[in-house]
């Protein structure tokens, strides 16, 4: 029976082979897409999928790439590293994709990146901010790129904006200790703000999932900062802002792209007024790429695009642009074309630095009268 058991297991593996070996159609270029369509970050995965689909649709309407139509195979990674590794191997070995756009969560991209590297299939992660995705242990991952700016960048820009534009000299920061994104942002905000000549009067951590921040906020208010940096996601930001205002703080609040949600104002109301955050782009930006994208996306999906959809759209466009410039679907050639990218993306003109991070400016958005208003653009 033990033998029967392994035969059963093998039979299932073979069945898997048969089921997923669909007959290949006429010549098309297959691009993989990966995102967490189920699990805790499901809305992120869905936005990413929509961004990818829109980009592929536009390219196909223009005649595809290298004279062939593009086929997008979009897989769910469930926000799980093991599933991510499985999906990556499947796309490369099974679907024979020439490139991958994915994925959202850093830990999943970190499981996928070595696989892209091993097979020489280029990937662009639209939104994984962990620096190690593209550059690990002092070594560059040759085939791995990203379309979003990383934590150091947003923290740095936030600090610059607070120091130069808001004229703050004393700053406080609060962050989620269990989240590498918020922690990273706050640390880089602190370092840059001090380097600029400012003073950090309070640097407070809170636990993941906390709803009462009074202990940390009382300390912050007593230190009398000119500005408070809140690197959390919008739901926590709303709570923190409310409690901070209750404690009598009236100064400006600054944060990162985790603020970007229509729910921020709904949850935070008056408290988030006089709030500023760094973001990938602003919907109010008058550049044609931005206006064109917002119009098309809204028409197709019935809602305005969020940052994830925008970055996925950009990542897919950058990848397809590289393939068309490479004139080939060979991994090495696409990689070299990616390195030479200079693309007018929705989130700004994008090039890659020597660590495969995008070089682009950040938009500063202000919360004014319950609306997100474009304030300025800050380069690092």
């Amino acid at each position: 029976m033990k033998r029967t058991l392994s035969i059963v297991a093998l039979a299932m593996l073979v069945a898997l082979a048969l089921v997923s070996c669909a007959p290949k159609g006429p010549a098309e270029i297959i691009i993989g897409g990966v995102g967490p369509v189920s699990g805790e970050a499901a809305t992120f995965g869905k936005s990413t999928q929509e961004g990818c689909e829109l980009a592929v649709e536009e390219w196909n309407a223009k005649g595809g790439v290298l004279g062939q139509q593009i086929k997008l195979v979009y897989e769910d990674d469930k926000g799980d590293a093991a599933e991510g590794a499985a999906v990556w191997t499947k796309l490369i070995q099974q679907d024979k994709v020439v490139a991958i756009v994915g994925t959202v969560m850093s830990k999943v991209s970190l499981a996928g990146a070595p696989i892209s590297e091993q097979y020489g299939v280029p990937m662009i992660s639209p939104t994984s901010t962990n620096p190690a995705v593209t550059f690990a242990d002092g070594k560059l991952r040759e085939f791995v790129f990203r379309a979003c700016f990383i934590d150091p960048f947003q923290g740095t820009v936030g600090a610059k904006f607070a120091f130069d534009d808001l004229g703050a000299r004393k700053a406080a920061a609060i962050f989620d200790v269990g989240n590498d994104y918020t922690k990273g942002l706050s640390e880089f905000f602190r370092d840059t703000f001090i380097a600029l000549g400012g003073e950090i009067v309070a640097f407070e951590a809170h636990a993941t999932g906390a709803t009462d921040f009074k202990a940390q906020l009382t300390k912050i208010v007593q230190a009398k900062p000119d500005v408070v940096y809140i690197s959390d996601y919008y739901n926590d930001v709303a709570l923190i802002a409310k409690q901070l205002r209750e404690l009598g703080f009236t100064g400006p609040l600054v944060g990162g792209d985790g603020w970007d949600s229509p729910d921020l104002v709904k949850l935070g109301g008056e408290a988030v007024e006089n709030g500023f955050f760094t973001n990938h782009y602003s919907k109010d930006d008058t550049r044609p790429e931005v206006q064109d994208f917002v119009k098309k996306y809204t028409a197709k999906f019935g809602a305005a695009p969020d940052a994830l959809a925008t970055l996925a759209y950009d990542a897919m466009n950058i990848m397809l642009d590289a393939i068309s410039r490479a004139g080939s679907t060979e991994g090495v050639k696409i990689r070299d074309a990616l390195k030479a990218t200079d693309f007018a993306a929705v989130s700004g003109r994008t090039m890659f630095d020597e660590q495969h991070n995008p070089v682009k400016a950040a938009a500063i958005i202000e919360i004014k009268g319950g609306q997100q208003v474009y304030r300025t653009t800050v380069a690092p």
Binding site: V8, A9, L13, L16, D76, A82, A86, L110, P114, K183
Partner: protein
Amino acid sequence: MKIPRTPWLLVVAAGFWAVVQLLRLVGFNDYYLFIANLSLVYVILAVSLNLINGIIGQFSLGHMGFAAVGAYVSGSITTLIYKLSPNVAAHYPGFVLALVAGGVAAALVGVAIGFPTLRLKGDYLAIVTLGFGEIIRTIFNNIDAVGGPRGLLGIPKFSTFTVILAFALITVAVIRNIAESAHGRNMIAIRENELAADLVGIDTTGYKVKVFALGAFFAGVGGGLYAHLLQIAHPTQFGFIYSVQVLIMVYAGGVGSLTGSVLAAFALTILTQVLKSFLSWLKAVTDLPIGGDWYMVVYALLLILIMLYRTEGLMGTREAKLMVIPEEDEK
């Protein structure tokens, strides 16, 4: 004459290895190999949890906590030696030692939490182990030396099919031999009626602590293999939901049946992969209103059906027996 079972296990494992190597030549690509590897890691985790939940009947909900200890300890060791000299082949002995070290560390943690908590019964133990699993995860989340919330990165990819299969074989052989020994009978007695077992002179708490340590050891080894397969150890990969995933394998396979755990680990891992392609194919062929994105719904539905119609799991408490072995030999 009774044929010892361990050689048979060895034959089966060797046969499995040989078949996979043969299939590699005819289109059994790295994706299938990855699924086979992942299944084998789950075999180790499920069988070791079955020792705790099935054989001795203590409801543990924090199995991935032990796996996390093993993953981080072995991962830290191999990352360090890999940095010193990146010659992969030379590090296999070191890798095996690192896995064992991870297992030992997990076992120590198992003993440490076993002593105070194993006097608890049923639901109370479940809640304590649940809390423990989360504590371990949170501790790793807060240690910057192992990456904190960024996770332990740069773990070399040492978990090959052969290594994982060898450890799965060892795990199943050891736990099976224990379960079938006199000690195993004592454990089953504890599971069936702890008070009665105590009355006939079985050291119930002693057994429970030892079993907890042993289960934790193999979970630690499994966690180490998991980290070296994915090349990352991340706190959220060892959360409650992952412990539940292993628990589902144990219960779907049959509590108390090691064969069931092995079977379920393979079946459920492969099922999540196959379902999506299968549903998409079915939709294309039969105009079914649901497509590939419904695969998690169907997966959950199948689990509910198993629990409704086979409450005891696929295998119940039965073990697979090879036909050449007589059922029960009278001594």
